[in-house]
């Protein structure tokens, strides 16, 4: 036997040779078998299949509509179900099992120093503009830091300041107050209270820490509600 002739034996997945027989001469398989066929076809198909598509793949004389009906009934209450999408059918995970299909990983991370400081400044000075935050911190506030705080829903945009350029201001949110157990930002402790609680280095001068500032008069009263998207454009 030559190398060439053996190849076909090894590789050539021999096709079932019954294709020449007129399929119409044979009765269709029993409905249970048809149901198995539909089951296999729907399982292996990458797309939902219509009854017509199923019929085209199944032997002559089959009743895919009935087979689908029986299959739907069989999978009633199972972990997967046969679902109709448009006029086509497909296997889908049962809705009450969908929670298994996602894995959630929760990562605990400490807020960065920049974010903590920015948050503290907003809490103590709100409403405060970005420029003011930068002045207090002595460094530029990165867009990422504010974005992060806004995404965490601890900070939101406040009213625009009625000063040249109408800069947006930042305020803390209800979520922030909830998280930190505060009724209002005015409840943030002042220096003397912190020191009394032994939380501060005694070297902190008495005038170093202010109680939260009152709202500034010059803030724009018109809350336009829209986050000042343009604010970030200069970044």
């Amino acid at each position: 036997m030559s190398a060439v002739s053996e190849l076909s034996e090894i590789e050539g997945n021999p096709e079932p040779t019954g294709d020449d027989i007129d399929p119409a001469e044979f009765p269709p398989p029993p409905i249970e078998v048809q149901e198995r066929m539909v089951e296999a076809l729907l399982f292996a198909s990458s797309q939902p299949m219509s009854v017509r598509e199923l019929a085209a793949r199944m032997p002559h004389g089959c009743d895919p509509a009935e087979a689908v009906r029986q299959l739907v009934a069989r999978y009633q209450g199972r972990g997967v179900m046969v679902e109709k999408t448009g006029d086509a059918w497909a296997f889908r995970t049962a809705p009450d099992m969908s929670f298994l299909m996602q894995t959630e990983t929760v990562e605990q991370r400490r807020l960065s120093r920049a974010a903590t400081e920015t948050l503290a400044i907003i809490a103590y000075h709100q409403p405060v503009t970005r420029a003011e935050i930068e002045e207090i911190r002595g460094v530029a506030v990165s867009r990422g830091t504010l974005d992060q705080l806004i995404e965490m829903e601890w900070v939101r945009m406040g009213r625009r300041r009625m000063t040249p350029g109408r800069p947006a201001t930042f305020v803390v949110t209800e979520t922030f107050l909830d998280h930190f157990g505060l009724e209002s930002a005015r409840d943030l402790p002042g220096l003397s209270e912190l020191r009394a609680a032994g939380l501060l280095d005694s070297r902190v001068p008495s005038d170093g820490l202010q109680v939260p500032l009152a709202m500034r008069e010059d803030d724009d009263d018109i809350d336009d509600g829209s986050p000042a998207d343009d604010l970030f454009e200069d970044e």
Partner: protein, 276 residues
């Protein structure tokens, strides 16, 4: 063997004693078969494959194959190829030489003096190799004939991917917040301690200096004389240089390189190289 040579046109079964056959047709077909074999030599995976193919003409179980006959068939094949001016790869010629050697040893009476495996052992191993190769071919073909995934068994056509959600929870307590604020508001108070490198004479520097100078100072010399130039006037610099130099002399004394002496409390410290 699942198939015999009769399926392959150029491997028509050769009747026993084919060469001696009177039947012209058989002789012609046998010759054609040989020629086809030669022309098709590119289709073989090396000499062992060719040997396996040739062995099939013996129509016997590979276990009972006549290696001598096989060697002759192979050598005839090579001869034929030469006649037809077909260039054979070196491997085929190496195998021919090996088989010629094996043949001669099989024909000669065994030499009791000869070292290494006997001709029978070599023949048996060749037969084993052919049988094993044949077995592996059949195994490969059975393997490929299985219900293979993607050919007769199928996986889910539309797998539902697992959604991977990553949620980051940031931790920050009120304390962190207030400490951060306090830090900002009292920034000026917390001036970090800046180390004054200019006014510090390190022990490494002192060690280097004392090591260099001690060779010249054969007699007792005051420690103060070892201070580097320009470090004696400024009190801070003098203090640093003195401390470093003193530490360096202690280290060198520990290493046995010098001796230290102090006549009384607060009196000058003197050092000298340790006499050999």
């Amino acid at each position: 063997m699942s198939r015999t040579g009769k399926d392959v046109p150029y491997l028509k079964p050769v009747p026993d004693g084919a060469g001696a056959s009177d039947d012209d047709f058989d002789a012609v077909s046998a010759r054609r078969a040989e020629e086809a074999l030669i022309v098709d030599v590119e289709g073989f995976e090396g000499p062992l494959d060719l040997l396996l193919t040739l062995s099939r003409t013996q129509k016997v179980d590979l276990m009972k194959i006549s290696v001598l006959k096989l060697a002759e068939q192979y050598l005839a094949f090579v001869e034929q190829a030469r006649k037809l001016r077909i260039e054979l790869a070196a491997d085929y010629l190496v195998m021919a030489a090996w088989l010629a050697f094996l043949k001669s040893r099989l024909l000669l009476p065994p030499d009791p003096e000869a070292e290494g495996p006997s001709a029978e052992d070599m023949a048996a191993h060749l037969a084993f190799q052919l049988e094993r190769l044949q077995a592996m071919r059949q195994a490969a073909s059975r393997l490929m004939g299985r219900d293979r995934l993607g050919q007769s068994r199928f996986q889910r056509g539309a797998p539902e991917t697992v959604a991977r959600k990553r949620r980051t929870e940031y931790q920050a307590g009120l304390i962190d917040l207030m400490r951060a604020y306090a830090r900002l508001k009292t920034k000026d108070e917390f001036r970090p301690y800046a180390f004054d490198r200019k006014g510090v004479f390190t022990m490494e520097q002192a060690l280097e200096r004392v090591r260099k100078l001690i060779g010249f100072a054969g007699d007792w010399t005051e420690l103060a004389d070892f201070l580097p130039d320009g470090w004696e006037t400024d009190p801070a610099r003098r203090r640093s240089a003195t401390a470093a130099t003193f530490a360096a002399t202690l280290e060198l004394a520990r290493q046995g390189q010098l001796e230290l002496k102090q006549d009384g409390t607060f009196s000058p410290i003197t050092i000298r190289r340790r006499p050999n």
